[in-house]
C-alpha cells in the first residue's frame, strides 16, 4: 500500500529544471523564448522554464516562493523591485558572478547598498510624448503649444455632444504617469536621499496643471486609465499619448505611424518634465542550489549578451544596455534618447512604494474635486512619512511574547486532554462509529492539511513582526499588530463599509433571487430558456465578468452611461472616478454575480411547499402578497437562512469584485472592504504580520455573526 502511494506521488513530481520568471510584453516574450531556446540547444543537458507573470504577481509570487525556500533561479523585472527584494534578502549580490560590466550603461547596473543586485538588458523604460504622424506633423515643444494643438484635435465630429477625438490621452490618474510634471514645475517628489517631498511647490503646481488640462482646457478625457488611453490612441481617436517605450511594439502592430518627442517643456517655467528612467534586468534568487549556479550564470550571460540584446533592439526597438548592441539611431530612438536625457533615475529603495501609495489617493481626490492641491500635498507628505515608518518598523518581542507562548502551550495541552478523553471513552469503538470515522477521515485529513494548518500558521503570524525587514527572521512578538489595527481610524471606516457592502449585497441577492424564483415557478412560455439565461452570471468565471463590468462603467465609452444618456436622457454618471459611485458600481456588479445562486436555492425550496396550502389560501380569498407573506416565505426560510449565512461569509470575503472593478480600491482607496484592505496592507507595504492580524479579526467577526445568525434563526440543527 505504501509502495503504491509512493509510486502514485512520484508520478506527479517533476524533475527540477532552471526557471526564469519575467513580465515581458507579448512581443518581447517571443524574442526571450527564442533566446532561451538557442541556449538550450547549446546546453542540451539543461532545460529552462520561462514563465510569464504580470508585474505585481511576479513580485508577490516571487516573495512567497523565496519565503518557501524555492523560486526561479532568475527573475526579470523593472529595477524598482530590486530594493525590496534585496532588503528581504531573497536575491543575492551579483558582483562575483558577472565580472566584466564595463560595456554596460551605468543605469543598467543596479546597485543597492553598495552591491550589484540586478543587471539590465535595456535602459530607458521611461515616458515620452508619442504622436500620431497621420494626424499631426509638428509635435508640441512646450505646454502652450500642447494646449493649442490639443484644443485643435479635441473634437465632436458628428455633433452628438460626445467628444469623438482627443488631443491628448494618457493614464493620468496614476502617479507614475504624473510625476514627470513635478520637475517641470521646479521641484521633485523625492529628496536626494529618497525621502518624500510631496508638499513641495512643484507637486502642488503640477496637480493644478493636470487638472486644468482636463477641466479648463478640456484636451484630455474625463476618465482615462491605461487601457482606454492606449485603445484611443491605437484607433486614431487621440492625436498624442504620454506613454513609455514598452508600448511601441503595440503601436507598430496596430499599424500606427507614430513619432516620439520628450514630454513638452512647461511654458511658465521653461523647465522640462522629467520622466523616471530605469532599466529592466535580471536578478539571481538567493536560494539557487550550488549545483545550479553554473548553468544559471551561463544562461544569465547569454541573455545579457550583445547578440540577444541586438535582437531586442532590432525587433522591438528598445535601447540595449551594452554599447556594442546599440543600433543606428532612427527618429524614434532619437526622440526617446532626448526624453531620457531629461529624465531622473528610477528610485529603487523599498520606501518609494509608500510614496506612490500616499500620492495616489490624494491625487485622485483632487481629480475628483474632493480636495484642494495645497492641502493634498501636505496630506500626502504626512501619509508617506507615516507609511515609511510603519514599513520599516521592527517590533521587538516583549513580555507578551512569553505570555503568548504560555497560552499556546496551554491550548495545546487542553486540546490533547480533550482528544485523550474522547478516545478513552469506548463510544468511538462501537462498530457503527468506527464506520462513521472511517468515512469521515479522508476528507478531514485533507481539510486539516490544507486549511487548518494554514489557519494556525496565520494565527501565529498575526502575533509576529513578519515584515519587510524581518522577512527571513521573524519572531512572535506579542499583541502589537492587534493594537495597531484596532487603534487606526481607517480600520473602523473600512469595517463600516464592509457591513454596508455585505448587507446590501446579501439582501439584494435574496430579494431578487426569491422574487425571480417565485415568478418563474409557474407555467410560462420560454420558461426553460429564461431559467438558463438567469443562471448565466453564476456560470461564467468571475475574473472575466468583473473586468467586463469595469469597462461597462466607463464614463464616456461604457455601455451603462450610453444607455442612461440615449434611452433615459440622463447626464452621464462618473462611475469609477467618484468614491460613492465607484463603491456603488462594485455593489451593482456583485449583485449581478450573486442573485442566480439565491434564485436556484429558492427554486429548490419552492418545490417542497405542498400545493394544497395555496389551494386553501385561494379558498380563503388571499391576495398574492398575503400568500407569499404567510406561506411561501415562512416555508422558504429553512433553505434561505443557511444560504444567506453562506452568502454573508462569501460576500464579506469577496476580494475579486472590488479588486477588478475598482482597480484595487480606486479612486483614492475609497472602495475597500476589509479583505481588499488586508491584501493591500499585506502585499503593498510588506506588513504580513499586520495583515494576518486583520484576517484573524475578520475571521472572528464572521464566526460571531455566523453563530449568532444561525442560532437566532433556529437553523442550527445542521450544526448540532
Amino acid at each position: 500500500m505504501n509502495l503504491l502511494l509512493i509510486l502514485f506521488f512520484s508520478k506527479f513530481i517533476q524533475a527540477e529544471k532552471l526557471q526564469l520568471w519575467h513580465q515581458m510584453l507579448p512581443t518581447n516574450r517571443l524574442i526571450l523564448e527564442g533566446a532561451v531556446k538557442d541556449w538550450e540547444k547549446a546546453n542540451p543537458e539543461h532545460q529552462v522554464h520561462v514563465i510569464y507573470r504580470e508585474t505585481e504577481e511576479l513580485r508577490s509570487g516571487f516573495q512567497s516562493a523565496a519565503m518557501g525556500g524555492t523560486g526561479p533561479e532568475l527573475i526579470y523585472g523593472p529595477s524598482d523591485q530590486v530594493g525590496p527584494f534585496a532588503t528581504m534578502k531573497i536575491i543575492r549580490p551579483m558582483d562575483d558572478l558577472l565580472t566584466d560590466l564595463s560595456e554596460f550603461d551605468p543605469l543598467a547596473v543596479v546597485k543597492y547598498q553598495g552591491s550589484i543586485f540586478s543587471v539590465g538588458d535595456m535602459v530607458g523604460n521611461h515616458l515620452m510624448l508619442i504622436y500620431n504622424k497621420k494626424l499631426l506633423q509638428n509635435p508640441p515643444r512646450n505646454t502652450d503649444e500642447l494646449i493649442e494643438i490639443g484644443k485643435k484635435f479635441t473634437k465632436d465630429d458628428n455633433g452628438d455632444g460626445k467628444i469623438d477625438r482627443y488631443g491628448l490621452v494618457w493614464n493620468f490618474t496614476e502617479p507614475y504617469f504624473f510625476v514627470p510634471w513635478v520637475a517641470g514645475f521646479g521641484s521633485w517628489f523625492l529628496n536626494d536621499d529618497f525621502t518624500p517631498n510631496l508638499n513641495s511647490e512643484g507637486v502642488i503646481k503640477a496637480f493644478s496643471f493636470v487638472k486644468s488640462l482636463r477641466d479648463v482646457h478640456k484636451i484630455i478625457p474625463q476618465e482615462c486609465d491605461y487601457e482606454i488611453a492606449n485603445a484611443l490612441f491605437k484607433e486614431g481617436k487621440a492625436a498624442m499619448i504620454v506613454n513609455g517605450d514598452w508600448s511601441w511594439g503595440d503601436y507598430v502592430n496596430a499599424k500606427i505611424d507614430f513619432g516620439v518627442v520628450p514630454i513638452p517643456m512647461v511654458s511658465q517655467t521653461g523647465l522640462w518634465p522629467a520622466p523616471l528612467v530605469g532599466t529592466k534586468g535580471y536578478s539571481v534568487n538567493a536560494n539557487v542550489a550550488p549545483e545550479k549556479m553554473g548553468p544559471t550564470v551561463d544562461l544569465l550571460k547569454h541573455l545579457l549578451s550583445t547578440e540577444v540584446q541586438k535582437k531586442f533592439a532590432i525587433e522591438v526597438g528598445i535601447l540595449p544596455s551594452r554599447a556594442s548592441a546599440r543600433q543606428q539611431d532612427n527618429d524614434r530612438m532619437a526622440g526617446s534618447s532626448a526624453s531620457m536625457t531629461k529624465g531622473k533615475p528610477m528610485p529603487i529603495v523599498p520606501e518609494v512604494r509608500a510614496v506612490w501609495d500616499s500620492l495616489r489617493p490624494v491625487y485622485q481626490s483632487i481629480l475628483g474635486g474632493k480636495m484642494q492641491p495645497q492641502e493634498a500635498g501636505q496630506k500626502a507628505q504626512d501619509e508617506a512619512l507615516r507609511q515609511i515608518s510603519v514599513m520599516n518598523e521592527v517590533v521587538q518581542p516583549n513580555w507578551q511574547a512569553s505570555l503568548l507562548q504560555g497560552i499556546f502551550v496551554l491550548v495545546a495541552l487542553f486540546a490533547l486532554y480533550k482528544l485523550f478523553k474522547a478516545l478513552s471513552g469506548n463510544t468511538l469503538f462501537k462498530p457503527e462509529n468506527r464506520f462513521a470515522l472511517i468515512m469521515t477521515l479522508p476528507a478531514m485529513a485533507a481539510v486539516f492539511f490544507v486549511i487548518i494548518y494554514p489557519l494556525v500558521f496565520n494565527f501565529v503570524l498575526s502575533f509576529s513582526n513578519f515584515s519587510l525587514r524581518t522577512f527571513r527572521d521573524w519572531q512572535v512578538v506579542g499583541f502589537q499588530n492587534y493594537f495597531s489595527v484596532l487603534s487606526e481610524k481607517v480600520f473602523w471606516v473600512v469595517f463600516g463599509k464592509t457591513i454596508i457592502w455585505t448587507a446590501v449585497n446579501v439582501l439584494s441577492h435574496t430579494v431578487i433571487g426569491v422574487f425571480l424564483a417565485v415568478l418563474i415557478n409557474q407555467t410560462l412560455p420560454g420558461k426553460r430558456l429564461m431559467r438558463v439565461l438567469l443562471i448565466i452570471p453564476w456560470a461564467v468565471p468571475q475574473y472575466i465578468t468583473a473586468l467586463t463590468w469595469r469597462n461597462m462603467f466607463n464614463q464616456e465609452y461604457g455601455s451603462i452611461n450610453n444607455m442612461l444618456t440615449s434611452w433615459f436622457h440622463l447626464s452621464p454618471v462618473q462611475w469609477l472616478g467618484d468614491p460613492f459611485n465607484a463603491f456603488a458600481a462594485c455593489i451593482i456588479t456583485n449583485i449581478w454575480l450573486g442573485f442566480p445562486f439565491m434564485m436556484v436555492v429558492a427554486l429548490g425550496g419552492l418545490q417542497s411547499i405542498p400545493n394544497d396550502l395555496y389551494e386553501a389560501a385561494d379558498i380563503d380569498g388571499a391576495t398574492s402578497w398575503q400568500k407569499f407573506r404567510n406561506i411561501t416565505w415562512p416555508m422558504l426560510t429553512a433553505v434561505m437562512y443557511p444560504a444567506m449565512t453562506l452568502g454573508v461569509v462569501w460576500t464579506f470575503n469577496a476580494l475579486n469584485v472590488v479588486w477588478l472593478v475598482s482597480n484595487a480600491g480606486e479612486p483614492a482607496d475609497s472602495t475597500h472592504i476589509l479583505v481588499s484592505y488586508v491584501y493591500k496592507a499585506a502585499f503593498n507595504l510588506y506588513r504580513y504580520g499586520y495583515g494576518a492580524a486583520l484576517s484573524v479579526l475578520i475571521f472572528f467577526i464572521l464566526l460571531g455573526f455566523g453563530i449568532k445568525f444561525l442560532t437566532a434563526n433556529k437553523a442550527t440543527e445542521s450544526i448540532q
Binding site: I51, G68, A231, S247, A443, V447, F449, L534, V600, G706
Partner: protein, 273 residues
C-alpha cells in the same frame, strides 16, 4: 383575466432580468469577434467582425494544451470531491459520534478566513511536500477547499432522505457500507450532481492558487493561460475575450443540462424537506 395579467407581468420582468443577465456576456462575445486587440472605446457592434481571434487562439497559442490540463485537473478534483463529500456527508448525517459538532462547525469556519492570506502557508506546505509544480498539489488544494461546501451540501441532502429504507436494509443484513453504497447513494444522484458541478467550477476557473503552484508552462491550466494574454500594460483583449467565451461554454452547457438537478439537489445547510 386577472391571472393572465399577472403572468404577463411575470413574463416581462423575467425577460428584463434575462437581458440584464446576458448583457455583459454579449459584450465579451462582441469583443471576441473584433479585429483589433482592444476592449473599450468603440461600440461593440461596430467595425469589422471576424473569427480571427478564435482561429489564432487555437492555432497560434497553447490553448488546446490548457484545455487538456484543465479538463484533467477538474475531472480528478470533481471525482475526489464527490467521493469524499458523499462519504463524510453520510456519516455526519447519520451518526452521532464524539467531535461531530466540532467537525461540522470547523467546516463552516474554514469558509470564514480571507483566502488570500492562506496563500503563503499553502505555498510553504506544498513546498515541504514537494508538490509545487505538479498537478497533485492542485488536486490537494482544490479538493480540500471545495470540500467544506460539498460536505455540507451532501449532508444536507442525506438529512432529507427517510431513514426507514436504511433501517430495513440493515435488518436484511446489509453492512453499513453496503447500505450506504447500494441504497443511499443511488437515491442521492441530484445532490451528487450538484456537488460535482461545484467541485468542477471551483477548479475549472480557479486562478490564484494555480498561479502559485504551477511554474511550468506545460502544466498551465486555462485561467493561467488566459491571464498571460493580460499583461499589465498591454492586454490582448481579443484573445482574452475569445478564450473567455470558450472557457465559459462548458460551464454554461453543464449548467443547462444539469439545471433540473440544480433545483432538486441544492440543499445548502441541510433542510428537512
Amino acid at each position: 383575466m386577472k391571472i393572465k395579467w399577472k403572468k404577463v407581468f411575470a413574463f416581462v420582468v423575467l425577460i428584463l432580468f434575462s437581458l440584464i443577465s446576458i448583457g455583459p456576456i454579449i459584450h465579451v462575445v462582441g469583443v471576441s469577434f473584433r479585429a483589433d486587440q482592444s476592449f473599450a472605446v468603440r461600440d461593440v457592434f461596430s467595425g469589422e467582425w471576424n473569427w480571427n481571434n478564435y482561429i489564432q487562439l487555437f492555432t497560434k497559442t497553447d490553448f488546446l494544451l490548457w484545455v487538456k490540463n484543465s479538463t484533467y485537473v477538474s475531472f480528478v478534483v470533481t471525482l475526489t470531491g464527490v467521493v469524499l463529500a458523499s462519504m463524510s456527508g453520510y456519516s455526519l448525517s447519520r451518526f452521532r459520534f464524539v467531535g461531530r459538532g466540532a467537525l461540522m462547525l470547523s467546516l463552516l469556519v474554514t469558509q470564514m478566513f480571507p483566502a488570500t492570506m492562506l496563500l503563503l502557508p499553502f505555498f510553504i506546505v506544498l513546498t515541504k511536500l514537494k508538490l509545487i509544480n505538479s498537478f497533485f498539489g492542485l488536486f490537494l488544494i482544490y479538493s480540500s477547499t471545495a470540500l467544506p461546501f460539498c460536505i455540507w451540501q451532501m449532508k444536507g441532502f442525506f438529512d432529507t432522505l427517510p431513514r426507514e429504507i436504511e433501517e430495513a436494509a440493515r435488518v436484511d443484513g446489509c453492512s453499513w457500507f453496503q447500505t450506504w453504497f447500494r441504497i443511499v447513494l443511488p437515491l442521492s444522484t441530484p445532490a451528487m450532481v450538484i456537488t460535482a458541478l461545484f467541485s468542477f467550477m471551483a477548479s475549472w476557473s480557479e486562478y490564484v492558487v494555480a498561479a502559485i503552484v504551477l511554474q511550468n508552462p506545460e502544466l498551465y491550466t486555462l485561467p493561467i493561460g488566459l491571464k498571460s494574454f493580460q499583461a499589465s500594460l498591454s492586454t490582448q483583449w481579443g484573445f482574452y475575450a475569445a478564450g473567455a467565451v470558450v472557457v465559459s461554454l462548458p460551464v454554461v452547457v453543464l449548467f443547462v443540462t444539469l439545471s433540473r438537478y440544480l433545483v432538486s439537489g441544492l440543499t445548502v445547510g441541510g433542510v428537512k424537506g
